[in-house]
Amino acid sequence: MAIARLFLVLLSFSLLTLGGKDAVSFGGAISSTADQNGFNFLLGQTGAVSKIGTFEFSGPADSYSQVRLRNWIEMSPNSVGANAPILVFAKYNVFFPDYSIIFGPVVTTNLSVENVNPVSNGIEDRQSAWVNLTPSQGNALRSIVASDPLGRVDAWLYSPTNRDFSTPDVDVSTELTPDGELIETTFVFTATVELVPLIVPEPSSYLVATGLSYVFFRFRRRSRRVPEEGVHDAS
């Protein structure tokens, strides 16, 4: 009986929570890791875009509430503040040559990658913090993901004022041996995009939540009353 009560309390609480919000995150973040693309394109006289790669997101989601990025990036020390490239999502396999010319939906996030801690002239594996997506950003990103049968979306870094950044695809190193020969090794750069999906409950969910909450309270009141009566009878 105690277990049944606990279960009902938890169920009731979760359903009430569900009914009290516009959307709910289930099961935490979803992530996708891909080989970096490395394609760079200069925009006008001052800007540039660099394609991070193509990522796949499956599973239920009506929108996304947060995003996080880990990627290998090379950028100049002045890639800070307004000069830091920002994360942009675009439809899979759609060339994104100019920010002002949008081929299909493009989602500009508030996630920027800055050259700080430590400032480097090298290629660094950088992990961003979680950044909130506005409802319009989350919804637009979801529509891009949903428009592809495999849930693919292209991620880019973009800056209108900075050209000195890139997300290279591979590092091909050559080493000279004491014998005068050259040995080549290749390292493939990868990136990971994480998203927090949101589920917007349907009207029927609200109805079920309210109904079950009502049933639970009725049941709880009855179950409280029954032992009291039992005690009274025994005395």
Binding site: N37, W72, S120, G122, E184
Partner: protein, 206 residues
């Protein structure tokens, strides 16, 4: 020609071969990766040969070079004096074009490029006489050399990264040049030549 004359000529040949022998200088160092954007797009690689004896180097005749670059097309390797302000350095004649040109095969990749090829299979790149003399003079007088990659293409955004994660990205230069004869060598040579000349003169008078 007497036996003594032959001996003098043999000595001269021996001395000249010592005086004009080949010297090889080589060093590897982590790239600085610091880029400058001015009239030139330039990236400072670093300073080499500061800890080596460069006092005997004459003219640079050949070289090998290796750099790690990205998004580079036909960028020039310069050797010179100075590690900051490429535009100013080159306008002051402090930068010498080695003649080597580097390009990425794949513009989206970081590539380590070794020119003109593996030393075991490929002869060194021939440095032209003017550049070779200037490079040799600088090395001999200063004792080190600063290396840059640069291009006049102002739209270029090429880079030479200093590292990939914790792994340093290095550049490498090997110079091959003639050796400048030491004063003692000159003295010996002149003595031998003088003796030979005197013997010839005495012989002809007799």
């Amino acid at each position: 020609m007497t036996r003594a004359n032959h001996a003098c000529f043999a000595l001269l040949i021996l001395l000249s071969s010592t005086a004009f022998g080949e010297i090889t200088l080589q060093e590897t160092k982590q790239q600085s990766g610091i880029a400058e954007q001015g009239t030139y797009r330039a990236v400072y690689l670093g300073r080499l040969f500061g800890t080596q004896d460069t006092s005997q180097i004459g003219q640079i005749t050949g070289m090998y070079g290796q750099v790690s670059i990205q998004r580079a097309t036909n960028v020039t390797l310069y050797g010179g004096d100075g590690g900051v302000g490429f535009d100013t350095l080159i306008s002051q004649g402090k930068m010498i074009d080695t003649g080597l040109r580097f390009s990425n095969t794949n513009q989206s990749s970081v590539e380590s490029i070794f020119l003109p090829g593996a030393p075991v299979f490929t002869a060194p790149f021939s440095v032209n006489a003017a550049a070779g003399t200037a490079l040799g003079n600088l090395l001999r007088n200063k004792g080190s050399m600063d290396f840059w990659l640069a291009t006049t293409d102002q739209t270029s955004t090429f880079t030479a990264p200093s590292s990939v994660g914790a792994t340093p990205k290095n550049f490498y230069v090997q110079f091959r040049g003639t050796a400048v004869p030491e004063p003692a060598s000159w003295l010996l040579g002149c003595t031998a030549a003088g003796m030979g000349w005197l013997r010839l003169r005495r012989k002809s008078k007799a």
